[in-house]
Symmetry: C2
Subunit: 168 residues, 2 copies
Amino acid sequence: MSDPDQFPSATANTSPALVKQNLRVWLKMLKATKHVEATVREKLRVEFDTTLPRFDVMAALYRFEEGLKMSELSSALRVSNGNVTGIIERLVADGAVLRVPVAGDKRAMLVRLTHKGRDEFAKMAAAHELWINEIFGGLSPDTTARLISILDTIEHSQGLTPGEDHDA
Amino acid sequence: MSDPDQFPSATANTSPALVKQNLRVWLKMLKATKHVEATVREKLRVEFDTTLPRFDVMAALYRFEEGLKMSELSSALRVSNGNVTGIIERLVADGAVLRVPVAGDKRAMLVRLTHKGRDEFAKMAAAHELWINEIFGGLSPDTTARLISILDTIEHSQGLTPGEDHDA
DNA sequence: GAATAATTATTCAAGCTTGAAATTTCATAC
DNA sequence: GTATGAAATTTCAAGCTTGAATAATTATTC
């Protein structure tokens, strides 16, 4: 676990100028992310008549053929329980997702993609990969590797609170 | 305008392995951004009983003492017109924002922070700066500079569509 | 096994977000 | 000045999001 981006005098006592610089980099990062997100959102809407939250849910279910419990799904996506309920409702109504009771636990529900749902998602995922590649394809492999390294540092940085992450 | 992160054979015809790597860096970037955003969101809620959208609106108005038209505000924040209407409504109800008619144009409305709104935002902004510094303070100045440079490349990358950005 | 606590999921109210439709006002052309 | 189109906002329906409250079931403890 090397940490080449970790600054020696680690957390939080920097000069005013550095504080400003940190704020600037955060705003830049937010802007760039929102830009990419908006692109994906619009393409999903125009080309597939769907939304990003639905895509995210389907992506999670796609990786678990056997299905996921509602609670597993919401924690995988890091969104609230009630949130997932609504999205799944609509996906079920559209025939993309199936709900099956969990044997031995009458509280839990297993949700998984239907065959139709899998087919739909496979198409969207392929397109999505290309969209992302159009945006990030301009970066050299070295640059993307560096970017991942920097982002890792941020993610595992102090000042958490929400969730107290630290996973992979 | 140097572009040290621009890859020679620029846009979009990369190998499957690079496509996957680009997808990976995007997901990482999204995750890190959401992590920071969630932190800020929760702190705003717990410490100031407010929301991120309200904070964003107030931040924009703070920078323009003379006020902004609704349309200027929504384009500055890159959100829809109808969106801003609702947020401003609540800020007005809370006495943080004032609406004044624009002389010579009965359609337009100028919105600006009240004295109370400015005071409130100043406190929040100071705290916000520290939160961000706690998270990004672990990066060296060189690293943040590099990050900004990479993010710039992404932002000015192909595959836009939404907005066709290209500003500062 | 009865009481208590923890888990799982849904419901709810409030707010955010969007794109589209409707309104009002302004600017331009004739 | 009247018509036509552009601009500034608001309204609207649909969906997303949250945290809190509720309900149902399961697990634990005595």
